[in-house]
Symmetry: C2
Subunit: 317 residues, 2 copies
């Protein structure tokens, strides 16, 4: 099979041996695979794949058709449309997925949307609800509201009855983010729009002090991205006075049972929204696998609404 | 009535008008009142009393006898032994308490223990269980394990089936902390004894980096004291990789309904331990009200096991 392949800090297409499903795994003929921040980090050698994932094939999410099943796999039949998060290896013609880590693709969701949905909606749902306990009526701030996770978080917050504000650096994207259900603001104006019960931090350390100042009593800050820097000064007395809490998390390093649990929550709480159209996956650009270099360049340049996705013609597709 | 009184950065005894209970308040003839870190901060002008509390009388906890009741107070009768947390004013012959913020004093608990129990056990219980979700089998580190909150936390953790480690700077107190149910260690050796699922931070900013390094995946840090400094560098990427969270909280600033809810949890989960002797209140020293200056000096000097308490002869005692 052919796959996006990291070599010497570049991503190109190379030939790999076809993987074969064992135990409860399914082999997916990939049709689309989203790009995520972790891919850029991995390309720079800063985020190695977890054990059990291909070390040199990036890609944390994919959608495609079940091409084969391991001897213990029961949840899907060959030919079923599935989407999944994986520890790596998604940006390839074929990808192994444990059946508990896969979900059905709702009718009406095309391949680019399906390939760009699992990682960002799972990440956003986990951070907003499982960690931060966002509830209806609360005020949510999404930092980086135009990106992949940001657009997912805005829609999930809105669907759950929260009042959503999104910081969007690129003024040209604010109208589109508002159409997703948020009040879109300049990141410089966060404090004037607070206080917030929950703040989803996708940018990093430079926002921490402002986040704490704009936090409502009892508020929660969920940090899931630090592209702009990881080290921040934290005023613990201010955190005590706000009776606040700060969460950090990543999905990628979690063991199968936790990823599977997150998938079940996705099926229960997110799939119905994607099926009904109450939420969708904005795809800013899609590229064929051959243009993976351009796709990474586009993703890294930022200033886009939603996802950058590779479209792939998996061999059994 | 006479009361400990803050004037120009000193605490002396002065005469105040007797307070009168209104609504659901009870008037308590105080028999003992513990000292807490917040009193020292307030003496230095750094922690003003919340609205509704006497601005110049310190004291966040007290025990005594109900001397009078407001027209809507129903929970206690005159003569009942009660203990309570208050926003301030506890170190006085008389103190107003909302009846929902008071609890019965168990038989067998003497006045100094009862006067030193409410704040530290409520603080420790709230931080360990309500916030950090400490569960049986988990590993708990209590930073500052010999102090008032520390000795309460060690005993509560032990009673709930956690494996408890306590950092104790004063080597001469470690044996006594071990008798409370913890492995007592030098604060310099925290990392060698980890990882920990829950870390109770009573010291402050200097410990944060070590705490994060010693945190188990999915671990929680509860910050409730910053005497050694409030501003710390936080590595958000490390927090993400640990999938950890950091809580901050204080009891004092909470509204009545939250304090009352904390009291009900105390009644359900802590009173039985104090009644059975599974937990007790180590009283390092007690002073009569007249020696309030010496009591504050002793409290501020540190190096003690448990509480410093004022014994007071409330007018109806």
């Amino acid at each position: 099979m052919r796959a996006a392949t990291i070599r010497d800090g570049e991503v190109t297409v190379a030939e790999h041996a076809d993987p074969e499903p064992a135990g409860g795994e399914i082999l997916v003929a990939v049709r689309a695979a989203g790009l995520n921040g972790a891919d850029l980090l991995q390309r720079r050698g800063k985020y190695p794949a977890p054990p059990g994932s291909p070390p040199d094939i990036p890609g944390l999410e994919l959608a495609g058709v079940v091409a084969a099943r391991g001897p213990d796999a029961r949840r899907f039949d060959e030919g079923d449309r599935v989407m999944a998060i994986v520890g790596g290896g998604g940006q390839a013609e074929l990808c192994l997925v444990h059946e508990r880590g896969a979900m059905p693709v709702p009718e009406g969701l095309d391949w680019p949307q399906a390939g760009g949905a699992p990682e960002v909606f799972t990440t956003a749902h986990d951070a907003l609800f499982t960690q931060a306990g966002l509830a209806s009526g609360e005020r949510l701030l999404v930092h980086g509201g135009a990106g992949g996770v940001g657009t997912a978080a805005v829609q999930l917050g809105r669907a759950a009855g929260a009042r959503v504000t999104a910081s969007v650096r690129n003024a040209g994207l604010r109208d589109e983010v508002e159409r997703l259900g948020a009040t879109a603001i300049d990141p410089e104006n966060v404090e004037a729009h607070g206080p917030f019960d929950v703040i989803l931090e996708l940018v990093g350390a430079p926002n921490l002090a402002t986040n704490l100042a704009a936090l409502e009593t009892g508020g929660r800050i969920a940090v899931i991205g630090v592209g702009a820097g990881a080290k921040a000064e934290l005023n613990l007395m201010a955190l005590m006075q706000k009776r606040g809490r700060i969460h950090g998390s990543t999905l990628r390093a979690r063991p199968l049972e936790e990823k599977a649990a997150a998938m079940r929550l996705f099926e229960r709480h997110v799939l119905p929204l994607l099926e009904s159209g109450a939420a969708h996956v904005p795809v800013a650009a899609s590229y064929p696998l051959e243009q993976v270099g351009e796709a990474y360049e586009r993703f890294g340049a930022g200033g886009k609404l939603g996802k950058v996705v590779l479209e792939i013609d998996g061999s059994a597709g």
